[in-house]
Amino acid sequence: MSQIDTAPSEALDPFLKQWFGIEDDELRSNPSCGYHHVIIGRPRRGLAAQMAALFGLALHARMGVAYRVAAATNLVKHLAHQSPVWKVFRPPP
């Protein structure tokens, strides 16, 4: 939405209706394809909770390295965005 917010509202509405029709079809045929979710949950208890905690710890440890690399990469990108050189390549608003 933030990338098409210059559209006039009378034209945007039919466009969005068409878009949501496509999305509805997509979700019907493949419910796992959503990029946004609403989730209601109750936590696991007892042994299941302990197993979940162990599994979560393992995942966290594995991902710890991955996110630090990602964070460092993006920090460099951020610093690049601050430089005057970057402005040459920035897309026009």
């Binding site: 990029y35 989730i39 209601i40 995942l59």
Partner: protein, 246 residues
């Protein structure tokens, strides 16, 4: 329980804090996609079955009223005031990383007459300390995609809930900031080119990653598996999709 200010943990989160302290009003703009009337109707319909019923109203109707709530990534406090307005909770604690947002949330709680029922504090969700078996419900609304330590946070959230407590999450679950493959970008770019040129803010599709907020989508793809791990009895409804056809 730790109630003090937890400072930024590294330069990435410090940059993000600076960004959100200056852009805390972003989600209140009528241009924010979730505030657009047709988008709102579509999300409501997919979650609740009714285009006019918001997911949180639906949640309150099914599970409320409850006593103590916790709202993580509360921003300027819109969710908490709405929950008290509809009688979902008796009291709610809101936590956000951004001090300016917390300041505004406190002011608005006072203005709404909820000063004694809404408590706010600054806290980093990556290192959150919350009491065990205390809350009936924990709300996480568009905040988890800024969190790196998703598993640690969800483990603590699970422990903080009473035995029959609930978690309500409304969240971006798409690719992590570094997970956009060339194929994904190609699909999005093709879709964007279908939009009339005069409507486009940019000449080409721009990834939903902000150079000014380095936590945006930092580990969003890890979120659904982590929720399934900690919250076995869960119900998940997709609310929006990026089409893979075209």
């Amino acid at each position: 329980m730790h109630d003090g200010h937890e400072p930024p943990t590294n330069s990435t989160t410090a940059v993000a804090e600076q960004f959100w302290d200056h852009h805390h009003g972003n989600t209140e703009s009528p241009r924010f996609w979730m505030a657009q009337a047709l988008c709102r109707s579509a999300i409501n319909r997919r979650v609740t079955g009714n285009p006019n019923e918001w997911p949180l109203e639906w949640f309150a109707r099914l599970y409320g009223p409850l006593s103590k709530g916790l709202s993580l990534g509360c921003g300027v406090g819109n969710l908490e005031r709405s929950m008290l307005d509809i009688g979902m909770c008796e009291e709610i604690t809101g936590i956000d990383f951004y001090s300016k947002s917390i300041e505004i949330a406190r002011e608005r709680a006072q203005e709404a007459g909820y000063g004694d029922r809404l408590n706010y504090r600054v806290g980093d969700l990556n290192h959150l300390r919350i009491p065990s078996a205390t809350y009936d419900v924990v709300f996480i609304h568009q905040a988890l995609h800024h969190v790196v330590a998703i598993e640690r946070l969800l483990a603590r959230v699970a422990r903080s809930l009473k035995p029959e407590g609930l978690v309500f999450v409304d969240e971006w679950t798409g690719p992590s900031m570094t997970g956009w493959t060339p194929e994904m970008v190609a699909v999005q770019s093709a879709l964007y080119r279908e939009v009339p040129r005069e409507w486009r803010r940019y000449s080409e599709f721009v990834l939903p990653i902000s150079a000014d907020d380095l936590t945006e989508g930092i580990r969003s793809a890890a979120f659904l598996p982590a929720v399934r791990n900690f919250f076995g009895r869960s119900r998940s409804v997709p609310t929006a999709v990026t089409s893979r056809r075209f």
